[in-house]
Symmetry: C2
Subunit: 306 residues, 2 copies
């Protein structure tokens, strides 16, 4: 079997991404052919800051541009370069020249300063492909797909309706191929029979509709949100659907912070990502951990085999 | 030093509480003088269902009433009896005849069927003492105080204001005597500079006001909610303030489900509780775990020594 080709979007070069890519290269080249979206000048500059030698087989997909790396700084030129690296990776995957894209972290404010209007990678992919990308985070032990993501908490409840939920549930089932998925309620105690909120009736209707389409109870819930991730309950599921960002990600990161990755589902390309930020406070200090990145590469390969 | 006297509110007798109390008696009598709010007839009935012998030194504070125990059933008479047991414990503590109250789980719907309008113990205590009781859950590794509790998610954001937050912060500081407290933001990424919600400005104003009153930065935050409970961040705090129920309790229960307890702060009496429900599915099956109860008794003793 040929090794899978994976385009690596290099992330914000003022952050920890490039350090992780260089450090993990010898490991990941054994499981895929990585192609790093950067250029030689920027790569040499980063390696020089890190006092490391660039591996001879560190293959580059050329991304135009130059700026002076300032470890730990939010800056427009670094934001722009990280966007161009991401765009290169996505286009290359779209052209089927690679099997998947793995992204290293970008900095949202740096994107903003560069005039890039997206809140993050997933937002850009949604727009680029005009598809409802699903954001799912996790690791082998537990994946959480987010029904709502980067919206204020006060807007979450009004975002729920049977139609949108049903579509999201079906897309999640089809793209994860999970056989059983836990769906969380919205309110404390899942509403306690309507006493603490009634959106659970909407969630229940969507669950019932989708399960009946599949003629099996793939979706289970709505689960009581603060019970769903207790040891006994989570041992029964590998996939969860959370109604909002922190409902799913706070427990996930409490349990599996270092291992977790981010997957974009429901798109024409496969894209996984580390589940951490640019970590500007430790950039170029040889303190960044690569476990999330290694898991992201492995997941990208696995999804490209599905 | 005299042993502390602790009144045990016996909980819903159709649930796991009485089993736990009987099983743990020999352990807890070594650290305090427990007084069980029940009566001999009900106690004998429960012991007979469990096929266990009642310990000779199992001291009872008599609570009137009789009904037939039906393990695992939601019923009005069991709801009423659990309320009367709780009331007895609270009154005894109010009269200073005991040093603290520990509560075993009641069933909210059973209380509702018995015509008791409270959503739980904390609600009743708030009404009984006409004080803003603070609900805090956790264990030695991590305590979480809840700014809002049993309200629908959609009402959380509008509950935040500087005045209420400041009072809550000060009450938490005074009753926990914690030297450093992590305060969570409300929105994903703590609002990301206002892009994902702006309630963090309210939280920040309250933090600043309270810290300046104490002339020290006791309160830290607002923290990004899905980062607050990661290993590195939580290692820096023992006390957290969550803006809403599941924000604090989902991570807490993911990490420390079996050990956690519930403490009511800011009241004239000391009250702790197990952090689990009546577990009707395993009632009278000798499968209930007593760790949370043991921790609740220990915490009650510790708080009565403060």
């Amino acid at each position: 079997m040929c090794a899978k080709k994976v385009a690596i979007s290099i992330g914000d070069l003022n952050g920890v991404g490039i350090e992780i890519a260089l450090k993990a290269h010898n490991t990941i080249k054994n499981i895929c052919d990585p192609l790093y979206c950067i250029n030689d000048t920027m790569l040499e500059q980063a390696a020089s800051h890190l006092h490391v030698t660039i591996p001879k087989d560190f293959a580059v997909l050329h991304v135009n541009g130059f700026f002076t790396i300032q470890p730990g700084s939010i800056c427009a030129s670094s934001g722009l370069y990280s966007y161009l690296s991401f765009l290169k990776a996505v286009q290359t995957a779209e052209q089927k020249k690679v099997d998947a894209v793995v992204t290293l972290p970008i900095h949202k404010e740096a994107w903003m300063r560069a005039g890039i209007a997206y809140k993050g990678h997933t937002d850009m992919l949604r727009d680029y492909f005009n598809r409802d990308a699903i954001m799912m985070l996790g690791c082998d032990a537990m994946y959480v797909a987010l029904f709502t993501e980067h919206i204020p908490l006060k807007e979450v409840a009004k975002s729920l309706n049977v139609q949108r939920l049903s579509t999201f549930f079906k897309d999640t089932i089809q793209t994860t191929r999970a056989e059983k998925i836990a769906v969380l309620g919205l309110n404390p105690h899942a509403g306690d029979h309507g006493v603490l909120g009634d959106e659970e009736t909407i969630i229940t209707r969507a669950i019932t509709a989708v399960n009946s389409e599949y003629s099996t109870d793939i979706l289970q819930g709505p689960l009581v949100p603060d019970i769903a991730f207790t040891p006994h309950t989570r041992s029964q599921f590998t996939h969860f659907i959370a109604m909002y960002h922190d409902q799913g990600l706070a427990p996930l990161k409490a349990l599996y912070f270092d291992e977790s990755i981010n997957v974009s589902l429901n798109l024409p390309i496969i894209r996984t990502s580390v589940d951490h930020g640019t970590a500007f406070d430790i950039a170029y200090k040889h303190r960044a951990k690569e476990q999330s990145y290694l898991n992201a590469v492995k997941a990208a390969i696995n999804y490209s085999l599905l």
